[in-house]
């Protein structure tokens, strides 16, 4: 092992908390609150991609993610008055989406959701792949993505949610803490534990391992 090259550099991820800056959604939120439903439509279009991405990673199925995304925006419309403007509107959107994801899993029932999720994730992992220039490489990539999604579904939601917000959505710890209403230290420790668990699941699935350890 002494001769192997182990990458020691920290992960290259400049992250900034949302505190301080001007909320890019501020204008639309104010217009919506003043009764302009067109402004809410713009907010939906602006945030649908991140909401759908979070829900797909949390639920493992495009169909479930679409239903949960619709619920998210309906709840946002219903409870938008609770947004006080002390964080970015996008953080509030993540919060509502996270609740939709957790509620959906409760509704489905844990076992049912997991079994369904595994099957769907495998299907989605393949289906999401666009037409590749190198079919063999692309198939391997698709298989790996599918394994990652399946492994994600193997994590308990309380670990999966902060992990997805951090490693997929790229949020900073303070923003995740605000979105999930838990202390920042809890967010950090959950992300580390989630990564550890995911690492074990991916090793078991053969999605990482020998190839990654090669010098």
């Amino acid at each position: 092992m002494g001769n192997e090259i182990v990458e020691r550099r920290p992960l290259p991820r400049p992250r900034a908390s949302d505190g301080g800056g001007v909320d890019p959604d501020r204008e639309l939120v104010l217009r919506w609150r003043a009764g302009d439903e067109g402004a809410f439509a713009d907010l939906v279009r602006r945030h649908e991609r991140r909401v759908f991405r979070l829900l797909l990673r949390m639920l493992g199925s495009r169909e479930e993610a679409e239903d949960a995304a619709q619920e998210t925006f309906l709840n946002l419309h219903r409870h938008g008055h609770r947004f006080r403007g002390d964080a970015l509107f996008s953080t509030f959107v993540y919060r509502v989406a996270a609740n939709a994801a957790l509620n959906r899993r409760r509704t489905l029932g844990r076992r049912h959701a997991r079994e369904e999720g595994f099957a769907r994730a495998q299907h989605e992992g393949t289906a999401l792949t666009s037409a590749p220039p190198d079919p063999e490489h692309a198939a391997a990539q698709a298989e790996r993505r599918s394994a990652v999604q399946v492994a994600l579904l193997g994590l308990p939601p309380r670990l999966r949610l902060p992990l997805v917000l951090y490693d997929v959505e790229g949020l900073a710890y303070p923003d995740i803490a605000r979105a999930l209403d838990v202390p920042e230290g809890t967010v950090k420790s959950r992300i580390h534990r989630a990564r550890e668990r995911l690492r074990e699941l991916l090793l078991d699935a053969g999605a990482i391992g020998a190839e990654d350890l090669r010098p």
Binding site: R8, A69, R78, V168, R195
Partner: protein
């Protein structure tokens, strides 16, 4: 550093969050520990795998479907939520606390309530209960229980002897009663008399009173006892 210490630091190490001195210690350990170095590598591969997930494109009709559902009225909060929304947050607790207190008191009161009683029969007026003066002494209407009659017509034991000794006691006993109550009281007194002679004796004593109500009471007493008012 022990393996466990290094492994618990790997998350922060990977993020670049470790203080320099601590990072140097971890580096030194990794240089001589293939197991921990391999763990770091697979942890990094795990994060890379998450980053390699595709950025999915949402279904093209998502926004339109949401807006259609809002148009259909699905995006409205319930009445309570809307009312609460109009109340400033600092006032909500002030409103909620008395409400909670009231609900708690009601729950405790319900819990402590004795076994439910059968519903009380409709209260009947004394006149109805006695069926008018002509019916005093006859059986009461079936729906008029004893409890429904005022306590005033209850004639205490020994009232007849008292009336013979002191006829004014009848005046005092009936002074506060209305006509029906007075008749009921006199009927009870007549029952205590038990004989025609004692009934007539009471009537005579009443007539002899200087009070103008005396003769009236005497007539009523005889009538209720089933005797002719004229001796």
């Amino acid at each position: 550093m022990t393996h466990a210490e290094v492994r618990s630091d790997l998350g922060d190490y990977l993020e670049g969050d470790l203080p320099l001195a601590r990072r140097a210690l971890v580096d030194a350990h990794l240089d001589g520990c293939p197991a921990c170095a391999s763990r770091l590598t697979t942890l990094r591969a795990t994060v890379d795998a998450l980053h390699s997930l595709e950025d999915p494109v949402p279904p093209p009709g998502l926004a339109a479907a949401v807006l259609a559902r809002i148009e259909a009225g699905e995006g409205r909060a319930g009445l309570l939520a809307r009312v609460l929304a109009s109340v400033p947050p600092n006032l909500r607790m002030r409103i909620a606390m008395p409400g909670l207190l009231l609900v708690s008191v009601a729950v405790v009161a319900l819990w402590l309530r004795p076994d439910p009683q059968p519903p009380a029969p409709a209260r009947t007026s004394l006149q109805e209960a006695l069926g008018g003066s002509a019916r005093v002494g006859a059986s009461s209407p079936p729906d008029a229980s004893i409890e429904e009659r005022p306590a005033s017509p209850v004639v205490p034991p020994g009232a007849l002897d008292e009336a013979l000794r002191d006829p004014a006691s009848v005046l005092r006993a009936t002074a506060a009663l209305d006509e029906a109550g007075r008749d009921a009281w006199l009927a009870g007194l007549a029952q205590q008399a038990g004989s025609r002679e004692r009934t007539l004796a009471v009537a005579r004593a009443l007539r002899a009173l200087r009070d103008p109500r005396g003769p009236l009471l005497a007539d009523a007493f005889l009538r209720l006892a089933g005797l002719d008012a004229s001796p």
